[in-house]
């Protein structure tokens, strides 16, 4: 079937400018179904801006973003979410005053249908829907092993757990594509390993495609299928982890022009 071969998401030469600053400069890539695609690059390279462009929080001035072949340019972020694109944020954007359960239930928003009127009436359709979605949320709570924190306001939770809750909230949307913005930033080795396990499980058990932005090179090289490297908003290489690792432009972007390939490998580009 041709639909199988069609990329899920195609980003075509997008350029995003804020006044005189060009945050993204002609970046293009595509993500295939069930692929784990990674975007890496030094700080300020425009990785998060790419995410914001995909979810249409920012509107790129040039280029096109297509979801299953249809352009999503100019749509509102909530419309993009309803297409099946979920994301997490670099600096955790959970709903701080709400409990873990309520946060993840908010992720179910687009899967639920009942109106405010039915909600105020509660008994009947709204209650039924609520209970069904609650059961679904409990599955996610189980999957991410955050049972003890269910009823706690998320702002009181430790950082690593908050990251997991945010992943859970995105998963609750039943997305086809998941954008993960630095899922293991600031985590210790154990937490990083847990998160890597969750990411791999999401792909193998749920079959969700992912775009991963991450600075932890070890993690990226281990789990990504393909990698895009950006620097100063410009794409400087796309390919398999091994290809990217040996790409002299990539090494130059990370370590400076003077470093040889060997020195680069020694400095942490080996997996």
């Amino acid at each position: 079937m041709s639909i199988q071969n069609q990329p899920l998401l195609e980003v075509e030469d997008i350029t995003l400018r804020f006044g005189g600053v060009t945050a993204i400069d002609g970046v293009g890539f595509h993500v295939n179904p069930e692929e784990l695609f990674a975007i890496i690059g030094p700080n300020g390279a425009g990785k998060t801006s790419i995410f914001n462009s995909i979810s249409q929080v920012y509107r790129p001035q040039e280029g096109d973003i297509r979801w299953r072949g249809d352009s999503i340019m100019g749509q509102r972020p909530d419309a993009v979410a309803r297409l099946g694109i979920a994301r997490t944020f670099q600096n955790i954007a959970l709903f701080g005053n709400m409990t873990v359960i309520d946060n993840i239930l908010t992720g179910r928003h687009i899967q639920m249908k009942e109106s405010w009127f039915a909600g105020m009436k509660w008994f009947g359709a709204a209650k039924k829907e609520e209970m069904e979605n609650r059961a679904r949320v409990e599955d996610i709570v189980d999957f991410l092993e955050i049972q003890p924190y269910r009823k706690m306001p998320v702002s009181l939770l430790p950082y690593g757990i908050q990251k997991r809750v945010e992943l859970g909230r995105a998963l609750a949307m039943d997305p086809d594509l998941l954008l993960l913005d630095e899922p293991v930033a600031g985590m210790n080795l154990e937490e990083t390993e847990d998160m890597a396990r969750f990411i791999l499980d999401i792909r193998s058990e749920l079959g969700i495609s992912m775009i991963l932005v991450e600075h932890d090179m070890g993690l990226v090289m281990d789990i990504a299928d393909r990698i895009l490297v950006v620097d100063f908003g410009k794409p400087i290489g796309t390919g398999l982890p091994d290809e990217v690792q040996s790409n002299p432009d990539v090494i130059a972007a990370y370590l400076g022009e003077d470093f040889s390939q060997d020195a680069g490998a020694a400095a942490g580009f080996s997996s």
């Binding site: 979810s55 929080v57 509102r76 972020p77 909530d78 993009v80 979410a81 309803r82 979920a86 994301r87 944020f89 954007a93 959970l94 709903f95 701080g96 005053n97 709400m98 309520d102 239930l105 908010t106 992720g107 179910r108 928003h109 687009i110 639920m112 009942e114 109106s115 405010w116 039915a118 909600g119 105020m120 009436k121 509660w122 709204a126 209650k127 829907e129 609520e130 209970m131 609650r134 059961a135 909230r169 949307m173």
Partner: protein, 440 residues
């Protein structure tokens, strides 16, 4: 036995219940029973409110219940959706005007359609009203206010924070101006006009059936053939019913999909949009629901006072609601109700305190001395902080001014020490006793 493990739930429905534990169910039930007993003048229990608020305590209490309805509305907008509004009194006014237009007595009839006394089409003394029954004007008050809320929302959803507060302050002044301009609706600018009485009938009130509504909440009478009730006792039960209904609706909203979406917008609007919550649509919805509550509250408020003029729907009234939220605890329904209870009854309590002190000042002993120290007749050589004469200006302050001071101080204290308000204090007490005698 679930009694020993109150947090053990066996179904999601149990977990989502409004009052999840047996203790909460019991406490609310007992509180309602006690309140009803107090209102029915049962000896012993009714001595408590009489001691705290005076013998006519039911009248300020009824007023407080009405404020509860409007406060639940401002909580949905400010506490739940996070949109700071100082225009709540405007929406209360809209609801009240809708009520008086549909339910009030009017000589103008359909001649009111051109509306404008100032154009010379109507006498200045003409009042518009259709004398329709409460089951029309009360819901209509909510709907009219919601409609006006939706009307202003295109502007309101585009601004946030301070800017929204200023925009909504503008509404209050526009509302007051329109009220003064249209005396055939709002009544005379000084003395206002008469709102419909609190009574239930099936259809229009007219000269023929003036005196015999089905249920009359605004006159003394007998219920069920044996229960002799005063007008305020009757109103109390009606208003308590309205408050319970409004509370359950608000709670249901909070625990359903829509309520979570509103809270999500409050906490992180960008994240909420990325989760698929259309921000502007939900802000508009928050405005509409909040305004509907305000409209119903405003209609009841005017009806309860019976005579209200346009200046009543002032900025000060709107600030009252912000005080309620800050003191009670924004975003929580229990906090809103506690805040209303506290803020609206405090002036009456202070007044009652002054009264009892001026009685005590006549007496001798320590009590008399304390009372004489606190009170003053306003003369310079007396340093008591509370002035008993209403004419007193400057220091010593009369009772109404002391109430402002107490508000101000309370708001500052709560903002600094307990941002969650009375609800936060309740949480602390609860958590303390949960673990008692172990500190953690």
């Amino acid at each position: 036995m679930a009694f020993n493990r109150p947090l053990l739930r066996t179904s999601y429905a149990e977990d989502a219940a409004i009052l999840p534990t047996a203790f909460q169910k019991g406490a609310v039930g007992i509180a309602l029973l006690l309140l009803s007993a107090m209102a029915l003048d049962v000896p012993i229990v009714s001595a408590i409110p009489k001691f705290l608020l005076g013998n006519t305590w039911l009248s300020p209490f009824n007023n407080m219940l009405i404020f509860c309805v409007a406060a639940l509305g401002i909580n949905i907008l400010v506490g739940v959706t996070g949109q700071v509004s100082l225009g709540h009194s405007f929406f209360m006014g809209v609801g009240a005007y809708a009520a008086v237009l549909l339910g009030g007595d009017g000589s103008g009839g359909l001649a009111c359609v051109p509306f404008h006394a100032q154009l010379g089409l109507l006498e200045r003394t003409t009042r518009c009203g259709l004398a329709l029954p409460i089951w029309i004007w009360l819901p209509a008050a909510g709907l009219a206010a919601a409609a006006v809320g939706i009307l202003v929302s295109p502007v309101a959803v585009r601004v946030r924070g301070l800017y929204l507060a200023i925009v909504t302050v503008g509404l209050v002044f526009i509302g007051q101006h329109i009220g003064v301009m249209l005396p055939e609706f709002a009544g005379d600018a000084e003395s206002g006009r008469r709102w419909p009485p609190l009574e239930f009938r099936l259809w229009r009130r007219n000269d023929g059936n003036e005196d015999n509504p089905l249920i009359n909440f605004s006159e003394d009478g007998t219920w069920f053939g044996f229960l002799e009730l005063s007008d305020s006792q009757k109103s109390f039960f009606f208003l308590l019913g309205v408050v319970l209904f409004a509370t359950v609706l608000a709670k249901n909203l909070m625990r359903s999909r829509t309520g979570r979406a509103l809270q999500a917008i409050r906490d992180r609007d960008v994240a909420a949009e990325v989760m698929g919550v259309p921000e502007r649509e939900y802000k508009r919805l928050g405005f509409a629901i909040s305004s509907a509550y305000a409209g119903v509250g405003g209609a009841l408020f005017a009806v309860n006072l019976s005579r209200v003029g346009p200046p009543e729907w002032s900025l000060l009234l709107a600030v009252d609601f912000i005080a309620i939220l800050l003191i009670g605890g924004a975003g929580t329904i229990a906090g809103t109700l506690m805040g209303t209870f506290f803020v609206e009854l405090l002036p009456d309590f202070v007044e009652r305190l002054t009264e009892s002190q001026s009685e005590a000042a006549e007496g001798s002993g320590v009590g008399g001395a304390i009372a004489r120290f606190l009170l003053t007749d306003g003369s310079r050589n007396d340093f008591g902080p509370i002035a008993t004469s209403a004419q007193a200006f400057g220091w010593p302050l009369p009772v109404p001014l002391w109430n402002f001071v107490i508000y101000g101080v309370l708001i500052v204290v709560f903002l600094i020490a307990e941002p969650l308000g009375l609800f936060g204090i309740w949480l602390r007490i609860r958590n303390y006793w949960k673990g008692w005698p172990f500190s953690y």
